[in-house]
Every structure is written in structure tokens, then in C-alpha cells.
């Protein structure tokens, strides 16, 4: 029995080594243009939604285009940094992080709605908090949940306005601070009263409200943040080397011309407009204030 084992042991080791070495020769074709998107909501249908976008880009650009799904904001940025994807639909903060990690990369397009994005502060009815125009200072001392740690609308901007209005960090202000992981879950947790207050992307809230998933007797919006720039398409600076000198311009054009409502519903946006890195300076400043990125990088 032991000799048998030794044999299979050796066979296995060989198998493993050969599979590793064949792997290095099996370099995936670099000519396929790959893009990704942060998984901010309705993840189950991401593949289906973005495969349509991939086909659209293939037709427009005449090259092979593939979409790969990722599981977190950080994974999207990492894939972009490592050149496993060349284009990504980022949130405000993830875009800023990606462009800092990949010098030369450019924000090229944003949704028509994105220059004026906003977050909602939502509260469970038992918290006794009512909707108001000015900042709801009474949220101090409650339990609070953000969305993903790396989310612009679910974490960065709400945290910024909380700090600005109440003069302290969330950890000190609230009795508990959680990170639900995404917007849908933030809504579920506040609606169940597990957390009394939460911060959520307004688009996700509006969509779930329209879909009848929200019971407004239990959870309501008590404040909306001032507007800020959010999602954008960011492309690596070196794409022209692989796909031709005017590739970035053609790609930008293709994105801006996307007008099929079915495609746009993937994002969901009513259309795309031009963008540049400078537009996102307020996000950079805020992220530095909140301590998510370092000032001296």
C-alpha cells in the first residue's frame, strides 16, 4: 500500500510541475481587451448586463472585448493595477485609488447623473429620527452601518459629512459602526432594525423603492448629502501601445455614444458624458481627510 502511495505521490508531483510549466507557456492572448466593473448592486446579473456592453464595444471598436466579474471594489482596482483589465467602471473612490496606483491612467467618461451624485442617510422608525433639511445631529449615539469599506457613496462621503458636521470620527460618535458590505445589505439591515442608521447610494435606494422592496413605515431617508462626483470609466494609459495610437480616443467615443437604453440600464445611467481626472479632485481631498488614502503618495 505504501509503495502504491509513493508511486502516486511521484506521479502527482510530476503532474503538478508539468501543469505549472505549461501554464507559463500558455500566456493568455494579450490582444483581448478586458474590462470590469465594481460590484455595487444586483451582482447576480452583472455578467449578463456587462456581456452586452462587451458586445457593444466589440462592434464599435472591431477588437475582442471581454468582461470579467469581480467580487469587491479592491479586487477591481487590483485587476486594473495588474493590467488584467484595461478599462473599469469604477466608483469615485475606487477610481481615484486606481489612478493613483496606475500613473498615466485616465477617467474618460462618467454617467450623466454622476457629477451630482448623493448618498442617503436612512434610519429605522424605532430610532425616532425624522427627515430633515439640515444635518441630523441626533444620529450621534445610535448604531450605524456603512456599506463596503471602499465605497464612495456608502462610506467615504457619508463619513466625510458626519465628521464635518459632528466634529468627530464615526467610531467615537456612534455606539456601533458596522460595514454591511454593500448597499442592498445596508438597506436590509436598517430595515430590520439591526442597525438604527445607515448610509446608502441614492440610486440603489430609489431602485429598490421602485421595486417595492422597501417598507417605508420601517425605514426612511432622513437626510441627503450635498452632491459629489461619483462613478466613471477609467482606462489605463498604455492601451494605445497595444491597440493602436488612437485607441483611447475611439474607446472614449464609443462609450460616449452609447445610447441603447438596454445597455445604459446596466449601469444604470441615462447616458455618458466626458470626464477627466481633475473632476475627481474633491474625492481625493475627502479621502485624504478621512484617512483612506495617504496625502504624500
Amino acid at each position: 500500500m505504501r509503495i502504491q502511495l509513493l508511486r502516486s505521490f511521484i506521479a502527482l508531483t510530476l503532474l503538478f510541475i508539468t501543469s505549472i510549466s505549461t501554464a507559463s507557456s500558455l500566456e493568455s492572448s494579450t490582444k483581448t481587451f478586458v474590462f470590469s466593473a465594481i460590484p455595487d448592486q444586483d451582482e447576480a446579473n452583472l455578467q449578463e448586463r456587462f456581456d452586452k456592453v462587451a458586445r457593444y464595444l466589440e462592434n464599435q471598436l472591431g477588437i475582442k472585448v471581454r468582461y470579467i466579474p469581480v467580487k469587491s471594489y479592491a479586487a477591481a482596482v487590483t485587476a486594473f493595477r495588474n493590467n488584467q483589465v484595461q478599462l473599469a467602471w469604477f466608483g469615485g473612490l475606487s477610481g481615484v485609488q486606481a489612478r493613483r496606483l496606475v500613473p498615466g491612467s485616465q477617467a474618460i467618461a462618467q454617467g450623466t447623473e454622476d457629477p451630482f451624485f448623493t448618498s442617503y442617510i436612512i434610519a429605522h422608525s424605532s430610532s425616532g429620527l425624522a427627515p430633515r433639511e439640515d444635518f441630523p445631529a441626533a444620529i450621534a449615539g445610535k448604531t450605524f452601518t456603512f456599506g463596503s469599506k471602499g465605497s464612495t457613496s456608502g462610506r467615504l462621503m457619508p463619513e466625510y459629512y458626519i465628521r464635518e458636521n459632528l466634529g468627530d470620527t464615526p467610531d467615537n460618535l456612534f455606539s456601533k459602526v458596522g460595514y454591511s458590505g454593500d448597499h442592498s445589505r445596508t438597506i436590509a439591515l436598517v430595515q430590520s432594525g439591526a442597525y438604527q442608521v445607515g448610509a446608502v447610494n441614492y440610486k440603489v435606494w430609489d431602485k429598490q423603492l421602485a421595486a417595492g422592496k422597501i417598507d417605508r413605515d420601517k425605514v426612511k431617508v432622513i437626510w441627503r448629502t450635498p452632491s459629489y462626483p461619483d462613478y466613471q470609466w477609467t482606462v489605463r494609459g498604455d492601451v494605445n501601445d497595444s491597440w493602436g495610437p488612437d485607441f483611447q480616443a475611439r474607446l472614449t467615443q464609443a462609450l460616449l455614444q452609447m445610447d441603447d437604453p438596454d445597455l445604459l440600464a446596466s449601469f444604470p445611467r441615462s447616458g455618458f458624458i466626458a470626464a477627466d481626472n481633475q473632476l475627481y479632485q474633491p474625492i481625493v481631498d475627502t479621502a485624504i481627510t478621512v484617512g483612506i488614502i495617504d496625502a504624500d503618495q
Binding site: R2, S8, F9, A11, L12, L15, F16, S19, I20, T22, A23, S24, L26, E27, S28, P39, Q41, D42, E43, A44, I68, P69, V70, K71, S72, Y73, A74, A75, T78, A79, N82, N83, Q84, Q97, L101, S125, T143, T145, S148, K149, G150, K176, V177, G178, Y179, G181, D182, S184, R185, A188, L189, Q191, S192, G193, A194, Y195, K213, D215, K218, D294
Partner: protein
């Protein structure tokens, strides 16, 4: 002679009692320090949706489900195979403290964090998934194999003409004696590896967890249920189709189906090692410069105050309470998988069920009992924590429950199997009396050994409960990955590794003092 034997039994019993007492007291003290306040309003709507989903599983796409299953199985089998090979080699040197520390180090890092580390250089590739399982499992298997080698009956070795420990000594007097336990333990680790493999989906590898997490976070509970049942089915039926003889076939198949490959860019690797993980104040600076050193001191000091110290504190606190809760739960659950308590009635009446090993296999009661344990230990802790959070609100309570239920079900299962080896007298009691006066005392050493072994696992698993906002070391490591501060992530990983090595040393000390066998022969 008899008197001294009695005394030594009595003193060892009191040592066991003392140590149990100390652990219970420490957990109670920790309980005073943490917040377990219950504060929830109306979880019932969400729970009703979850229940409805659990009762009406729906497969959203068969190809997705099947490829998820295949990938989960492939990563697990490849990972455990590689881990068994590496673990075996490491176990040969397990008497060296340095090797033990190395093993404790690699297994202190959660599979998810290994995956996140490899992702930086190898991307979302099959190699990332394989290594994320193989490395920590090699550390665990090395420990188990190493301790098995230490615990084999020394009699055959003592009868060898040459007492010098050498290769033939090892192959003739140690390995054959440890072999059966090694095989059983490795096969048990394989079940764990399937769970780990599924969990790797949480960070993007294409296993069942990928879709499970997706469905859960979107609140699509029927789809989530289908993925979860698929995982349960995979684990629950392993014994039926994963035969020793077929193993080579499966191995060739999984390496063919999912060859471990990645396009590793040399550039990325260099950048990762020479830039990313270098502490920020040291990057591109002359190392022995007064200013650099003072910057580094400031950086470290701030990190210590804000993350390392609170992280250590919360990790130890949560770990300690969960450990004791795990222990209590394991003792309560063990009858579910024990032939002594889940036995066919007609065999009891004849008082000879112990001699009917083959009949016991057909024991449906125990089958149901163990299925409950499989269910409890397969539910991802993160899902348990989410349910706990809905019901009890945010506090340490959901975390304690999640860790306790998961680990308690694992130890309960192992202890239940261990009771197979106990032979009872024909006139033995049954039920509660049997449990408290016969079974519990006889398995208590085993129980403590399992619990100490699970200790470090619990500490490591505190990492994935960020949804509760409990600031454990793992919570900060996750935050560091999220903000691309790999230098901080690595430092925190080193801190948790140091904690793990200390716990491992302490558990080893206790095990030797209390003469516990960490790995029972009957595993």
C-alpha cells in the same frame, strides 16, 4: 503501587478540572468586558424571506452551479494534496521549534488573506486558489502529522537494534503506526478544504461561495439556498463516492480540469516585494537615517494605538469567549454523531451493539444526527453572523454564536466519532447517566485536546466578521487590503501570526502537562 497510581489519576483529574475552570473563569471575565447587549427591532420580515428562500431553493443557472461545484472540488482536492505532501515533509522536522513556528505562522493567516496576497501578483487565477488552500493546510497537516509521529507507541522503536533515530527507524517504527490516523485526519481535512474552497469565492475565485455570497448580498435567498444545498450535498456525500482507489482518477481529473496556472509578471512580484509591503515611511529612504527612523517610529506608534493594540485586545477577547462557548456546544452536540446515543433500539435491547460495527453503519438515527452537524458546520460563519445580527443587533453576541456554532459542530462531530472507539460493559447505563458518568469522563482529555487545537482556528476566523464592526486584527487586515496598504496588512498579519504562535506554544505546553493527545488514534 496501586496507591500512587490512584493518586496520579486523581491529581491529573484535578489538573483537568483546574484548567477547565480557568478557561471558564477567563471567558466569564471577558464576557464582562464585551458588549453583548441585545438590540433589535423587527428582524422577522427578513428572517421570513430567508426561511421562504431556504424552503424554495431555485437554481438560477445549472451550468453556473455545476461549474461552481467542480471548481470547489478541484481547488480543495489539489490544495489538500499539495498540503499533505508539504505537510509531511515539514512534519519530519516538527521537533524543531523553528519549523513549528513556521507552521503556526502559515496557518495563522486566513485562507482569504492568502488569496488576497497571491492575487496581488498572480491575479484571480487557479494558482491563487490552489496556494491559498495548500499553504495554510500544509501548516495544519504538518502539526497533526508531527504530533502523531511524537505520539506513536514507542515499543516497536525500542525493540529495534539501533536506537538511533534514522530513516529506517522512521519508516519501520513510526510511519506505519501513524499511517491510519494520518489518512483519516487528512480525509477529514479534505472536508474542511471544500468549505475553505467555497469561501474563497467571497474574494472572487469561481467557487460556490462566489455565487452564494452574491445571492445572499442581493437578498436572493432561493438562489442562495440552491448553492448552499449543493455545497452540503457535496460534503454530505463525500463518503459515498470519494474512495481511496478512485483518488488517483479524481486527482488526474481535477488537474486536467483546472490546471494551476497564472501569468505571473516578474514586474508585479518585484513591485510587491520591494515597494508594496515595505512600510510607507521607509519606501525609497535611506534606512539608517535619523529622520527615517523617527518617521517609522511615529508610523508604528500610531498603528499600535489605532489598530494593533485594539485589534489584539478584541481578537483575544472574542476568541476566549467563543472558545468556551464552542466547548460547551461541542459537548452538547456530540451525542448527535455518537453510536452510543444514536443507536437502533433493537440492538440496545440485546446489549451487544458494540460488536456489530457493520450494523452501526446503517444506523439512520446517527445519520440524521450527523447531518445536523454537517449543516451547522457548513453554514458559513459569515452567514450565521448575519442571521445573528438580524436577530440580536450588532454586538459581540452574533460573533460568539457564529464561531461557537460552527466550531462546536466540528468538535462535536469529531468527539462523536471518537466515542465509536469506547467499548462499554454490557450492563452500561444509557442516556444521561451514560453521558455524564461514563462517556464524558472518558473523552474529556480528547475534548480538551480538540478544543486547544481549535483555539487558533477560532482566533483566525474572527477575521471575517467585519459586518458586525468588531475591530479584530482580521478586521484591520481586511481594511488594509481594501485601502491597498499592503505594508500595514503585512505588519498586522505578522502580529496575528505572533499571537497564533504564542497560542500554539501555550496549547502545546498544556497538552504536554495534561498529557492530552491532540490527535486521537481513532480520528
Amino acid at each position: 503501587m496501586a496507591l500512587s497510581a490512584n493518586r496520579s489519576i486523581a491529581s491529573s483529574a484535578s489538573a483537568l478540572r483546574n484548567i477547565s475552570l480557568w478557561f471558564a473563569v477567563s471567558a466569564l471575565l471577558c464576557l464582562v468586558l464585551v458588549d453583548i447587549q441585545i438590540s433589535s427591532a423587527d428582524p422577522w420580515a427578513e428572517l421570513a424571506r430567508m426561511t421562504a428562500g431556504a424552503l424554495s431553493p431555485s437554481v438560477w443557472s445549472w451550468p453556473t452551479l455545476l461549474s461552481g461545484l467542480a471548481n470547489t472540488f478541484a481547488f480543495a482536492l489539489q490544495g489538500v494534496t499539495l498540503a499533505a505532501i508539504a505537510g509531511f515533509v515539514l512534519a519530519l522536522g516538527y521537533r524543531f521549534a523553528l519549523i513549528r513556528a513556521f507552521c503556526a505562522f502559515v496557518r495563522s493567516i486566513h485562507e482569504l488573506f492568502w488569496a488576497l496576497l497571491f492575487m496581488q501578483v498572480a491575479g484571480l487565477s487557479s494558482l491563487t486558489g490552489l496556494l491559498a488552500i495548500a499553504i495554510p493546510y500544509a501548516g495544519t497537516l504538518a502539526k497533526i502529522y508531527g504530533e502523531l509521529f511524537e505520539e506513536v507507541d514507542p515499543a516497536p522503536a525500542n525493540n529495534l537494534p539501533h536506537r538511533e533515530p534514522g530513516l529506517s527507524h522512521f519508516f519501520y517504527a513510526v510511519l506505519p503506526l501513524a499511517w491510519r490516523s494520518m489518512a483519516t485526519y487528512t480525509s477529514y481535512r479534505f472536508e474542511c478544504a471544500i468549505r475553505s474552497s467555497a469561501i474563497l469565492g467571497f474574494v472572487g475565485l469561481p467557487t460556490l461561495g462566489f455565487h452564494l455570497e452574491t445571492a445572499l448580498s442581493d437578498g436572493h435567498y432561493s438562489e442562495a439556498a440552491a448553492f448552499f444545498y449543493a455545497l452540503l450535498l457535496l460534503i454530505g456525500t463525500l463518503r459515498l463516492w470519494l474512495h481511496k482507489r478512485l483518488l488517483p482518477v479524481y486527482l488526474v481529473a481535477v488537474f486536467y480540469y483546472l490546471p494551476p496556472q497564472a501569468t505571473i509578471s516578474w514586474q508585479l512580484l518585484v513591485r510587491f516585494v520591494s515597494e508594496d509591503i515595505v512600510p510607507a515611511p521607509l519606501r525609497g529612504e535611506a534606512l539608517w537615517n535619523g529622520e527615517t527612523i523617527s518617521h517609522f517610529a511615529q508610523w508604528f506608534n500610531l498603528l499600535w494605538q489605532q489598530q494593533i493594540w485594539p485589534g489584539l485586545f478584541n481578537t483575544v477577547l472574542l476568541g476566549q469567549i467563543s472558545l468556551v462557548f464552542t466547548g460547551l456546544l461541542a459537548l452538547a452536540l456530540l451525542p448527535l454523531n455518537s453510536p452510543l446515543f444514536m443507536r437502533p433500539r433493537r440492538l440496545i435491547s440485546r446489549g451487544r451493539f458494540m460488536s456489530h460495527g457493520r450494523l452501526m453503519d446503517r444506523n439512520w438515527k446517527r445519520g440524521i444526527g450527523d447531518s445536523i452537524l454537517i449543516l451547522l458546520r457548513t453554514l458559513p460563519e459569515y452567514l450565521l453572523a448575519f442571521i445573528g445580527l438580524l436577530i440580536f443587533g450588532p454586538s459581540m453576541l452574533p460573533a460568539i454564536l457564529a464561531l461557537g456554532i460552527h466550531n462546536g459542530a466540528i468538535i462535536g462531530h469529531l468527539l462523536g466519532r471518537y466515542t465509536e472507539e469506547l467499548s462499554l460493559r454490557a450492563d452500561a447505563n444509557s442516556g444521561v447517566t451514560l453521558y455524564f458518568y461514563e462517556v464524558l469522563p472518558r473523552i474529556y482529555r480528547q475534548f480538551l485536546a480538540f478544543l486547544f487545537y481549535r483555539w487558533e482556528v477560532i482566533l483566525r476566523e474572527t477575521a471575517i466578521l467585519g459586518i458586525l464592526g468588531i475591530a479584530t486584527l482580521g478586521f484591520y487586515i481586511d481594511s488594509a487590503f481594501e485601502t491597498f496598504r499592503f505594508d500595514i496588512a503585512l505588519l498586522l498579519i505578522l502580529v496575528s501570526a505572533a499571537l497564533n504562535i504564542s497560542v500554539d506554544q501555550f496549547a502545546r505546553y498544556l497538552r504536554q502537562r495534561l498529557q492530552l493527545k491532540t490527535v486521537p488514534e481513532s480520528l
